[in-house]
Symmetry: C2
Subunit: 519 residues, 2 copies
Amino acid sequence: MTTATKIRAAATSPKPRKTPAETHLQALKERLQEISDIASAAAVLSWDQSTYMPAGGAVARGRQMARLSEIAHKKRIDAAIGRLLDKLEPHAATLPPDHDDACLLRVLRRDYERSIRVPAEFVARSSAAASASYNAWTVARPANDFASMRPHLEQALGLSREYAGFFPGAAHIMDPLIGPDEGVTVAETRALFGKLRAELVPLAAKITAAPIADDGCLRKNYPEAPQLAFAIKIAQDFGYDLNRGRLDKTAHPFMTGFARDDIRITTRVREDDLSDALFSTWHETGHALYELGVSHDLSPPLDGGTSAGVHESQSRLWENLVARSRDFWVHSYPQLQAAFPKQLKEISLDTFYRAINKVERTLIRTDADEVTYNLHVMIRFDLECELLEGKLSVEDLPEAWHARYQSDLGVRALDDRDGVLQDVHWFAGGLGGSFQGYTIGNILSAQFFEAALKAKPGIKKDIAKGEFQALHGWLKTNIYQHGRKFGVDALVARATGKPLSIEPYMSYLTTKYKALYAI
Amino acid sequence: MTTATKIRAAATSPKPRKTPAETHLQALKERLQEISDIASAAAVLSWDQSTYMPAGGAVARGRQMARLSEIAHKKRIDAAIGRLLDKLEPHAATLPPDHDDACLLRVLRRDYERSIRVPAEFVARSSAAASASYNAWTVARPANDFASMRPHLEQALGLSREYAGFFPGAAHIMDPLIGPDEGVTVAETRALFGKLRAELVPLAAKITAAPIADDGCLRKNYPEAPQLAFAIKIAQDFGYDLNRGRLDKTAHPFMTGFARDDIRITTRVREDDLSDALFSTWHETGHALYELGVSHDLSPPLDGGTSAGVHESQSRLWENLVARSRDFWVHSYPQLQAAFPKQLKEISLDTFYRAINKVERTLIRTDADEVTYNLHVMIRFDLECELLEGKLSVEDLPEAWHARYQSDLGVRALDDRDGVLQDVHWFAGGLGGSFQGYTIGNILSAQFFEAALKAKPGIKKDIAKGEFQALHGWLKTNIYQHGRKFGVDALVARATGKPLSIEPYMSYLTTKYKALYAI
């Protein structure tokens, strides 16, 4: 087409002029995409820090991530965003409440009002502190050196308090740290945990009174390469696409994403424990399937999962409801035996199934079974509250940890490595509000799975055939595609027709473990 | 110390007030560090793109890198930097010319004056185009699909012209693309290349008229893992520290750095060609040793190598002057035989030495021997000039490539994959001025090595014992530590006592290949 014909074409079919609302919305989305891109760049740096970065890169990396956090935050709190939001209010009022743009404007307003309370300088300082603390922790944990982490933890506590201080009027100092996305306050979490504890403690007592499962079959020598190959093969069967993600090794497995089509998972391999790499890979796969399933129509900040709790429900659903079920192994166990013939040839499906569902009062949260896992979470939640409330000092934390493990789980770690140093969270900028989501996730995993089974009763049979499309499809339709459009309560109600409830979870645990332990 | 004693201590020994110049310099260095951190973040994203990124990440990655480039560039051209430079002029005049700060202010002034001519929008657009082109090239090259790269190349050419246009008055359109760091113009490069070609062509003719070396011993099956293990072991012997770097695989090997103590190299492994991974690893090791050797006292923008030519001199020095020497293999060949006993047990040192120094007129620059390598470079340099001068169209480029290979090297590729598509440069934002440095690097590698041998005559014997500290030490002292403090001419004069000259290089080639080919 020549220039002349182009002009003629333009004259005959004029492009419709954008309305002011469309123009504002476009300007807003461009700003949000830029912020998201910078945050994604920071996430790449963090992923590299946790997977491949040589030790020498640590100091500069902390500074680099802090720069990006500060730049992103400054753009997040730019008054221009507030002005665009104001200008778009009349437009938002004309949209159906579930319209993508209506949700975007609603969620963004909430994010923006929160962000502008936090100075960019604070964000940079927190990021740098978190990075320095994380680097120190990677050395201190293996060295069982709590003393070297104490100043980092004091600083983290100070930063958490400072952050909470930006939100005066909160009912509890930890409420701003949990944040509104989670859909729960400290008070609500305590009530929920109280109810759960009341049912969980007697169940755990009954199970641990029964003869313990033998998991010796998992503790043989399992070379790394076939472990990783099996783990990723199953992840792909679940629906994880290696054109849109990858699996790497790290010390403390996590999922992260840099773009809608680059959602990565990490795992850890122990050659003397078959369960570690497999279940941690499938756990992170669940997180990744959630992110990968968000509708491509959604743009930042709606293009990710809606809360830590709902996110965890997906990691736990795939890790536990699927991959620790007997149905799953009916199909997958022969494949696993083929991958490890020497180690598993003589081991029956039922022995293996009992091994991967061994219930025991142990020291490490991430290794804990489904039944006792939440007791680990509750200890952390309570200790966080006490630290923030000023009822517990950092100095006294290691002993408080041991004391709670003694009273709640009847075990006591020999050292801090398997005590207070075991989780990365408090040592990577997450002191306060970063644990309750694990238990909410467990609760929701069963509630969502129950709803999926009700809608598609063939799911269990499919799983026993190694087919996961029906389940994955239901989750995509009812949860994943919506991204951050809806809050936890709304999403749970839409997907399950009910408010969040511990009943499906307790029913799942009780049925499964009564059969396993003949109690 | 209590607050009261702190105040007392402050009162009795007051901290000396900073001078205005010190305050300005600190403010300037803080800005420069921030810019460097953002550029380093972009480099991490680029490294990931070339090593681990899944295909799905490509589009967003281009956008993310463009954002960071734009942010860094905006900060680079901030008028506040110009004001600080102006304020610091009187201070700079009081410093000895070789003082770190004097050099910093001089180099920064040059960088700044160049940067402010280039709009941030252009930088973002170039970055995005380069990224999109690179991603397309990774698909197009294996598919031998020049047609799909043509629009990318047209765009790259347009961008290069646009960039050159920011510097009116240049003697040649490619001069601004080469840039002042290289210490050469197009005219000077042509003169240098003319002299070199006059000596190189007859030498190459003599060698290729002699019986060709047999490199069959390199073309057996060499499994990847021991290749990588041997390559990195030798790199460590050279002085590469894995606490400050790492080796990963990629399609087109490169060195990159994200911090003074995180300088990474990449390589490529062919199981049917032993030389590929080894020499490309040691080549990138040379680049890395340069970056790792820069004095920790230097801050951005002095904390890197001084030009592409000097940088390449270091990669070539370690790859060729060291690792393709017979001395080197006296010590290392038995180790290599031990790593690959089946493949090399029966192969003598001399057969191996001849194999890795086989001279042949071939198609691929990066696989070319030392003698013919520069002919490949000259072809590219000339074609770049012709493209930019408008004497050659992108459409005609593939055939022009073949014609030049036919006339200069007597070979013609069967396709564009091994023709115009073979190098990443033009397809990753580097159309213009990105090749001449390879030949300048070859020339300088011999000139520096000659000077090192003159200063420390034991170096050759050390190499034959697998010891490289004397050489590495001389290079650190005379080249690496200075970072970007000095221009090419000044650095070469300081290190070798002479201006850049082809004489040591031709002397090295002639002596080595006369012996090898008995000519």
